[in-house]
């Protein structure tokens, strides 16, 4: 299937120079190595290209073994801590899971004391519509304000210095099952946020909120007629299967698109040159595929849109008529690669279905889509038509399907990967889960789950439930990989010191050699890690690594929700694979910050 040729000689990274005057614009691979970034962490994915790569290089493969705990901070909450702390202007901002507190910690003082705390007005009932723990994936900093989402479908802007609420906008209704857990990004003065609730039969949307006023500038639904999806004359999907009018309505049985899911609950990347941002939509609702015949556009779809108007430029549906809950929401890492001697602006999208999509981010053409993890639900992606060739023996339905891999959380769920231009590798924290399922008639009651599938997950081949691996987009091969007992549900960060950091659900924070995956250092924290590690340069000039510990999320719900492990179908079937988690970790909510002595 290797009809293309990749060479890693020219890998370009794009950040967003005009937003942060203090940022140096890297224009070439060489420059990145030479020109250090500012050592801050202003958005969850580090930069708009979502590389999670820091040029800080104090911590290296040689000295990482002597990394020591610098200080800690308790978030005061015990649910899954999925957020990335932000570091801007010597202040660290930590967002907690529900009740979505925002802490500002003063890094200039020893022990980083609390500067202020913002406690939003939030509806506690919203906890009942959060499918997979009441997590929050972080905030974004822009022009002196912290923007983040509240579980009860509100977006807030908080003054970064004082902790005062500047505006708070209600964007949806928990009584329709909507919630918000994603980390927003800000592009061209527009805060881009999306809803969660693919398991509640919401109608997915992504909204552009004016950063200044909090007014909704546009809202792009993922289902329904083209005008709702903000598909206009400039919409040019690359593949025929995605072309046509009102597909968001016509690819559904009558009126089912209104409760068809396809929420945008995860990552957004932005390319300022093309002026396009990229995000994926979630699974269609309900999971039971028999209740929604058709390709169910635009669920499990990658969208490219303009930040100012929300207008769609192209779309590519990775999993038409998704039958395995393969959300398309995973991160899109924007890379500039030279392929077949041609410089191409691409995005790398490790999808839940196990394929690593390398897509031309200007046109939406799939350049390659090799499998990066074990998958038997699909065969391959046809690059001519863009279609995913499925394995019919693993198609879910009213019959029982066993040993379908990957399981609904996919080969990789939301847990973001990182990319090091130094090695040219993507660092993929991912899962190794298979499952058995049987569809049952799902009943729609607004504000309650709309799933219709009995699921039980278990470890995939090898018996380990998680894998940390490095993927070389040049050769489309895994370079190295490390097995983990539990799914690697934390994000990763890679530094110019060639160290990759990630955490495990049994509570180890680990550093690996980015080149060969050799374990270099590990530290046992209080609770399992599912957060996104970050690295920053402190006011003292030292490089710090920070991560939130506190197990939870979909995978950790068995501990954070106190679930009973005897019922394997708990947490949408994840409990079956995780019922022993409680033996290894307990609930927690603690920030750990490390530095060299």
């Amino acid at each position: 299937m290797s009809c293309f040729f990749l060479r890693p000689t020219k890998v370009l990274l794009r950040a967003c120079p005009f937003l942060f005057s203090f940022l140096v614009v890297p224009t070439s691979f060489a420059q990145i190595q030479n020109q250090p970034d500012d050592g801050q962490w202003v958005m969850a994915a580090k930069n708009h290209a979502s590389t999670r790569y820091s040029t800080l290089n104090q911590i290296t493969t040689e000295n990482v073994a002597s990394l020591k705990l610098a200080w800690t901070f308790s978030t005061g909450t015990l649910k899954g801590q999925e957020a990335a702390p932000l570091v801007v202007n010597n202040t660290m901002y930590v967002v907690t899971p529900f009740p979505n507190l925002l802490y500002a910690l003063d890094l200039t003082k020893p022990g980083a004391p609390l500067k202020w705390m913002y406690q939003p007005a939030i509806e506690p009932a919203s906890q009942g519509v959060a499918c997979c723990d009441v997590v929050n994936r972080g905030a974004a900093y822009y022009k002196g304000r912290i923007y983040y989402n509240l579980l009860d479908v509100q977006t807030v802007a908080v003054d970064a210095n004082t902790g005062k609420e500047i505006w708070r906008t209600k964007l949806g209704d928990i009584n329709k099952g909507e919630s918000m857990t994603m980390a927003p990004i800000v592009a061209k003065g527009v805060v881009i946020v999306g809803n969660s609730g693919g398991e509640f039969g919401v109608r997915g949307w992504l909204a552009g909120v004016d950063a200044e006023t909090g007014k909704v500038k546009w809202r792009a639904y993922a289902t329904g007629p083209d005008k709702d999806v903000l598909i206009g004359s400039n919409f040019k999907p690359f593949y025929k299967m995605d072309q046509g009018t009102d597909l968001g309505m016509k690819t559904w049985p009558a009126d089912t698109w209104k409760i068809g899911g396809a929420s945008a609950w995860s990552w957004i990347s932005y390319d300022p040159d093309l002026d396009l941002f990229y995000y994926g939509t979630s699974n269609p609702s309900p999971w039971n595929p028999e209740q929604r015949l058709g390709s169910n556009k635009w669920s499990s779809t990658l969208f490219a849109r303009r930040p100012e108007t929300g207008e769609a430029s192209w779309a590519y549906q990775m999993n038409p008529h998704d039958i395995h809950d393969y959300d398309g929401v995973n991160e899109n890492v924007l890379l500039d690669l030279t392929i077949n001697g041609r410089a191409r602006k691409v995005l790398a999208h490790p999808d839940r279905n196990g394929h690593m999509y390398i897509i031309d981010r200007a046109t939406g053409e799939v350049i390659s889509a090799e499998k990066y993890a074990y998958s038997n639900t699909s065969v391959a992606v046809d690059l001519k038509t863009g279609e995913l060739k499925l394995n019919p023996t693993k198609a879910t339905g009213y019959n029982t399907v066993r040993d379908a891999c990957p399981a609904p959380p996919g080969s990789k769920d939301w847990q973001p990967s990182s990319f090091s231009p130094r090695t040219g590798y993507l660092y993929l924290p991912h899962n190794n889960l298979c499952y058995e399922s049987q569809a049952v008639q799902a009943n729609y009651i607004a504000g309650t789950p709309f799933v219709g599938m009995n699921v039980r997950m278990y470890a995939g081949p090898g018996g380990n439930r998680g894998i940390m691996s490095a993927w070389d987009p040049a050769t489309a091969k895994t370079v190295w990989s490390t097995d983990e007992m539990f799914p690697v549900w934390s994000g990763t960060v890679v530094t110019a010191g060639d160290v990759v950091f990630y955490g495990t659900m049994d509570g180890w924070f680990k550093a690996l050699d980015a080149r060969n995956g050799k374990p270099l250092w590990k530290f046992k924290v209080g609770s399992g890690i599912i957060g996104q590690p970050v690295t920053y340069k402190g006011p003292d000039g030292k490089q710090y690594v920070a991560v939130l510990s506190g197990v939870g999320g979909w995978s950790g719900a068995v501990v954070s929700g106190g679930l009973n492990g005897v019922d394997g179908t708990g947490a949408l079937g994840f409990v079956n694979a995780m019922s022993d988690l409680g033996k290894y970790t307990t609930k927690g909510g603690m920030l750990y910050v490390f530095s060299l002595p």
Partner: protein, 640 residues
């Protein structure tokens, strides 16, 4: 000295022998004695009486259903009650009436016809009866406490499964199956051994009466078919009580597997019921046509073929489940094949009547009724074997009509004939022939009035097992007709009961052989002595009773001071050795109680299997406590 046998050999010590026999075979006194009985006449009669009571109960249930269906949108029964009643009706008729009744008749008649003193395993025989009674009582405990099964007598999962039939209703049904199948297997075993090893000398395989042949075939069928239903009901029971997944498709089980296993039993079950009835017909025909049944080898061979083919056509109960066409064609052909073997037997009987001198007794009336009804049922059976026709009439009143035609026509009419035929043997008095003919005509007319219209109902689209129907479908007047017929049948039943009770008191005394019939049971007195014969009669021809008295032979030399019988060889029935049968014992009853405790308890708590087993161990300990040697290898004398 009371002589009971019609002819006695001229041997010394006759008086002593007879008084010995009287003493040795005497039943114990009081309740204890009653519970300890192991003689085949007593056990057989208990089966017959219990099964007859079940027939009446099942009949009452049928009447309740007919009342409910007599008019559209009737509210006489609510659906819950109706479902319980039709399930109990089917279950009762199949498991608690038909099979046990045939078994009871066999237990009563086979040793007599084979010219021996008792069945091969008298205690097992008693045990089998108590188990059967346990099943009866358990099911009707359910009926009276609202736990009657309500998922149809074949209990298809998932409807019968834990999710859709809450409570203990299915469990009661499934465990009742275990009880009755246990009992059926006990009976089948002892009948087979009795027939094969305890025939009187001279009764070679080709001299066995056709009735005994039918029982031999039926018993083998029981042995092969019943384990299947025990498996099916155990699957169901363990799915329900201990959470297994035999028939849960989602966990790799298969509801169709249950159907296959069930019908692998269920279809032979029909033949298990009516093959003995064909035996009745043969016996009645030969006695009343006053010649032996025409085409003895053809009769025997077609019965055996029936027995085999019966196992190869269960799938015609499942044509609508969506089978591959080639499989359907195979089962169509095999299902129709049974018509050949059945046809041959019908032809033979007609030929017998044709070439004989029919004496129109009531039992022969019932045989003619049988031929009319059964042949019609056979015709509809051929229709049901055809896949396209079956798709239309399957699970409709057409099928109801069909199987009542073959089961009532094929089994109950011969059975009534058999009652009239053997009643004098069992009680010593003849039943009233006059009332008998009335009885026949009322039953015959009532039957056809009830069930013939059901063919039409089926063609008009009435599915079975509906508790009511709206007026606009136009089933009302036909249903009313059927209900009327059902009450006429009930009148017929009452007439029969009246005849039984009156004749027991006032019927004319029968004598040993009122019909001048041909088989050996007529050599014994009416009713037979507990030991059947003073001296076992020897069969010198296929029709030993038509051998002139002076030419008859007897077995002498068997010891009479213990329950000694003669074991003969399988093929030629040559004397092989003496065997002492066990006498009365309370242990079969006690063991049956312990097993019952285990079975019933396990429905509520699986641990009862353990405690029941331990108790049963003690029961068996008592049962098998060593006695003196039972076997004496010694040729018994045969004396002409």
């Amino acid at each position: 000295m009371i002589q009971t046998q019609d002819v006695l050999p001229n041997v010394p010590n006759q008086e002593e022998d007879i008084s010995n026999l009287e003493r040795v075979w005497r039943r114990g006194r009081g309740l204890f004695g009653w519970l300890s009985v192991t003689t085949h006449q007593a056990i057989g009669m208990r089966y017959i009486v219990t099964a007859f009571v079940m027939l009446l109960v099942g009949g009452i249930e049928a009447l309740l259903m007919r009342i409910q269906l007599a008019k559209p949108n009737n509210t006489f029964l609510n659906p819950d009650l109706y479902n319980q009643i039709f399930t109990t009706h089917g279950t009762t008729m199949m498991f608690l009436f038909a099979v046990p009744m045939m078994e009871g008749m066999a237990i009563y008649l086979v040793p007599l016809m084979c010219g021996t003193r008792n069945v091969a395993f008298p205690r097992l025989n008693a045990f089998g009866y108590w188990m059967f009674l346990g099943g009866v009582l358990f099911l009707y405990w359910g009926v009276f406490t609202g736990a009657a099964p309500d998922m149809g007598w074949f209990a298809y999962p998932p409807l019968s499964g834990p999710q859709f039939t809450p409570g203990k209703r299915t469990d009661v049904w499934a465990q009742m199956i275990t009880f009755t199948e246990f009992s059926a297997l006990c009976v089948a075993t002892e009948i087979v051994v009795t027939i094969l090893k305890m025939r009187t000398p001279g009764m070679t395989l080709n001299r066995i009466p056709l009735y005994v042949w039918s029982l031999l075939i039926q018993s083998f069928m029981v042995i092969f078919a019943m384990p299947a239903i025990v498996v099916a009901s155990s699957y169901l029971l363990s799915d329900r009580t201990i959470g297994t997944h035999f028939v849960n498709p989602a966990e790799g089980g298969d509801p169709l597997l249950y159907q296959h296993i069930f019908w692998f039993f269920g279809h032979p079950e029909v033949y298990i019921i009516f093959i003995p009835a064909l035996g009745f017909v043969s016996a009645i025909v030969s006695a009343n046509a006053r010649r032996e049944v025409f085409g003895y080898p053809a009769m025997v061979l077609s019965q055996i073929a029936n027995g085999f083919i019966a196992f190869g056509l269960w799938v015609h109960h499942m044509f609508a489940t969506g089978l591959p066409q080639i499989g359907e064609a195979f089962f169509t052909a095999s299902s129709m094949m049974i018509a050949i073997t059945s046809g041959v037997q019908i032809f033979c009987w007609i030929a017998t009547l044709w070439t004989g001198r029919p004496r129109m007794t009531t039992s022969l009336y019932f045989v003619y009724g049988f031929i009319a009804i059964f042949v019609l049922g056979g015709m509809t059976g051929v229709m049901l074997a055809s896949v396209p026709l079956d798709l239309q009439v399957h699970d409709t009143y057409f099928v109801i009509a069909h199987f009542h035609y073959v089961l009532i026509g094929g089994a109950v009419f011969p059975l009534f004939g058999a009652f009239y035929h053997w009643f004098p043997k069992m009680t010593g008095r003849l039943m009233s022939e006059r009332l008998g003919r009335w009885n026949f005509w009322v039953l015959f007319i009532g039957f056809n009035l009830t069930f013939f219209p059901m063919h039409i109902l089926g063609l008009k689209g009435m599915p079975r097992r509906v508790y009511t129907y709206p007026p606009e479908v136009g089933w009302g007047s036909i249903s009313q007709l059927a209900t009327l017929g059902a009450f006429i049948i009930a009148i017929g039943g009452i007439m029969f009961l009246a005849n039984v009770f009156m004749s027991r008191k006032t019927g004319s005394v029968a004598g040993n052989n009122p019909w001048e019939a041909d088989s050996l049971e007529w050599a014994a007195s009416s009713p037979p002595a507990p030991y059947n014969f003073e001296y076992l009669p020897v069969a010198t021809t296929r029709t030993p009773m038509w051998v002139p008295r002076e030419e008859r032979a007897f077995v002498t030399g068997l010891r009479t001071d213990r329950r000694e019988v003669l074991v003969t060889t399988l093929m030629d029935a040559e004397p092989h050795h003496r065997y002492v049968l066990p006498g009365s014992s309370i242990w079969p009853f006690i063991t049956a109680i312990t097993v019952t405790i285990g079975f019933i308890g396990s429905v509520f708590n699986p641990w009862y299997i353990i405690s029941g087993s331990i108790l049963t161990f003690f029961g068996l300990l008592g049962w098998f406590w060593p006695r003196r040697s039972t076997e004496i290898r010694d040729e018994a004398g045969v004396r002409a």
